[in-house]
């Protein structure tokens, strides 16, 4: 790394990136393990380090709604949540995307109650995958910071105008401290120019009755923007590298070129999987890793031809299966997938476990880590 390194948690890095982006309004509600993000922002605002309005709303439904209200006036907004907070704003997630507002949200992945459990799982965010939000999953503090900066630029690009959710594993990344470079973005994030912002001099109505013969067209326009966002993401990541030297791709690859078997995972599991690949290679198994970063829009050009896949889902869609494994299979029908369900509710999964997943893989089956074979 080039610049000065700061020790920071994932949470603080996201807060720092949000500060750099200079949002005008931040509306958020606390929830473990996200609290540190908004507490840090509250501190920034209180100390004058950040010239924003922090709205301490009374719930997440209102957090997202206040972001919507602020955003439609044409200003930059930011929020953060996790788990039940995310679920509680579900209606407004659909709304934010349908209203085409470039809201950026830090989202700390945590499992769902009952019973209460505050540890990592991706079901919270993945079960929002139809809402029209772009979703990225990050795996290091540096990446959390960088992705947050890029999120504003991508969301606000007029070819996109959809909200972006930056996902990071609860505690595993939100609370871990790693050295990272707090790059000054300079003019990397252009000023926001919302084409449909409210203007009292040119009054318009937003969201009144939308007839059956046009509503689907608006939905198609969202999908068009999702498709366009692939280009915008590529451009943004290229520009980011040019300016700041760090390389990102929608899917991060590790030793995939010559790999026979590829572990696919999101977030910290995807990073630790690299260690599993190293271990496997020592044992003569040509393993690689694909860490899906941008999950929405879904990656369409993963080069998995001829390789076996071990897909680790830290999530589950009851009565169907792992979400990631399912969507990969859907978009890559030829894929030979061994589906592993692991890490739900903070279940401990080590690189050694992942190496074992690879060694014991059975293509075409689903395996719940930790559940005895006879019950599977």
């Amino acid at each position: 790394m080039s610049g000065k390194l700061t020790m920071s948690t994932g949470n603080k890095a996201v807060a720092a990136a949000a500060k750099m982006a200079k949002p005008v309004v931040v509306a958020a509600y606390p929830i473990t393990p996200q609290t540190e993000i908004i507490e840090t922002i509250a501190d920034y605002v209180a100390s004058g380090e950040m010239d924003a309005r922090y709205i301490p709303v009374e719930s997440e439904h209102s957090a997202m709604t206040a972001c919507i209200g602020a955003s439609i006036t044409g200003v930059r907004v930011f929020t953060a949540t996790s788990s039940h907070g995310l679920l509680y704003m579900h209606e407004m997630l659909h709304w934010a995307a349908g209203a085409r507002l470039p809201i950026v949200m830090g989202q700390v992945n945590r499992t769902l109650a009952p019973g209460w459990n505050i540890w990592a799982e991706h079901t919270d965010a993945l079960s929002q995958r139809d809402t029209g939000w772009l979703q990225i999953y990050v795996s290091t503090v540096q990446e959390a910071y960088d992705a947050t900066l890029m999120a504003f630029r991508i969301a606000e690009d007029t070819r996109v105008l959809l909200p972006v959710m930056i996902n990071m594993d609860g505690f595993l990344l939100s609370h871990i401290m790693q050295p990272f470079e707090m790059t000054e973005p300079g003019d990397f994030i252009p000023p926001l120019n919302l084409p449909h912002k409210i203007d009292v001099l040119d009054p318009k109505g937003y969201g009144a009755m939308s007839p059956a013969n046009v509503h689907y067209q608006f939905r198609f326009d969202m999908e068009k923007s999702m498709r366009a966002s692939r280009t915008v993401i590529d451009e943004t990541e290229t520009e980011f590298k040019k300016r700041f030297g760090r390389t990102y791709k929608p899917v991060d690859e590790y030793l995939t070129e010559d790999a026979d078997v590829i572990i696919i995972a999101l977030g910290t599991l995807g990073k630790e999987a690299e260690v599993a690949a190293d271990l496997l290679r020592k044992e003569g198994i040509k393993a690689g890793v694909m860490r899906i970063r941008w999950f929405r829009p879904f990656p369409l050009d993963m080069n998995i031809k001829g390789k076996e896949l071990v897909v680790i889902d830290r999530d589950y869609s009851f009565g169907f299966g792992g979400v990631i494994a399912g969507e990969i299979q859907a978009r890559y029908p030829d894929a030979k997938i061994a589906s592993i369900i692991a890490g739900l509710g903070g279940q401990e999964v080590t690189y050694e476990d992942m190496a074992a997943f690879v060694k014991n893989r059975k293509t075409g089956t689903e395996f719940w880590f930790g559940i005895p074979q006879e019950e599977q």
């Binding site: 390194l5 020790m7 473990t32 393990p33 505050i118 290091t140 594993d169 505690f171 595993l172 990344l173 609370h175 871990i176 401290m177 790693q178 050295p179 910290t268 599991l269 990073k271 630790e272 690299e274 260690v275 401990e348 999964v349 080590t350 690189y351």
Partner: protein, 176 residues
């Protein structure tokens, strides 16, 4: 990779200690991560946190099961927690105490009266002695990072000179 587990109590500053340790190692040009295994702990409840130090970026997020070193910031946790669980053969133990504590053989034991030092320096918050800065001094002495990096890691976090004073005292007083 060098893996350290820290045993402390909610409110004692064990998490900050972990961060400063990692930070000091980074200042030495190493790579390091500090990860608190947060739960819903309350002030006073035993908690553990982890530090990993390596020459290349640390890519492991799961818990440390076979630590190279154990740091016991509060010896009273030993009543309820098996602090030595998984410690590697020949691994190091640092314990905050002013008296010799018996441990099974096969480990290298170090100690320092961090609480005493904290009380001496009046590093007390809501009745608890804060031992997270003295421990940095002690660990520098044990060679986990340089003295300078340790001091820098502290001053990055705390402005009050009592902290560095306490660390320096611990550096001098740690019993190897």
């Amino acid at each position: 990779m060098y893996e350290i587990r820290i045993h402390s109590r909610g409110g004692q500053g064990g998490v900050t200690a972990a961060r400063m340790m990692a930070s000091a190692a980074v200042k030495d040009g190493k790579f390091a991560t500090a990860c608190p295994f947060y739960g819903a702990e309350r002030r006073g409840a035993p908690i553990v946190s982890f530090v990993r130090i390596d020459d290349k970026p640390v890519r492991i997020y799961s818990q440390i099961n076979k630590p190279d070193m154990i740091i016991i910031l509060d010896p009273t946790v030993m009543d309820t927690v098996d602090v030595l669980d998984g410690l590697k053969e020949g691994g190091k133990i640092f314990i905050n105490t002013n008296e010799e504590t018996p441990f099974p053989p096969g480990f290298k034991v170090f100690r320092g009266d961090l609480t005493g030092i904290a009380l001496r320096e009046n590093l007390v918050v809501s009745g608890s002695a804060i031992v997270n800065t003295p421990v940095i001094g002690a660990l520098a002495k044990l060679g986990l990072f340089t003295r300078e990096s340790g001091v820098e890691a502290i001053t990055d976090t705390f402005t009050d000179p009592r902290n560095t004073n306490a660390a320096k005292a611990a550096y001098d007083e740690v019993i190897v």
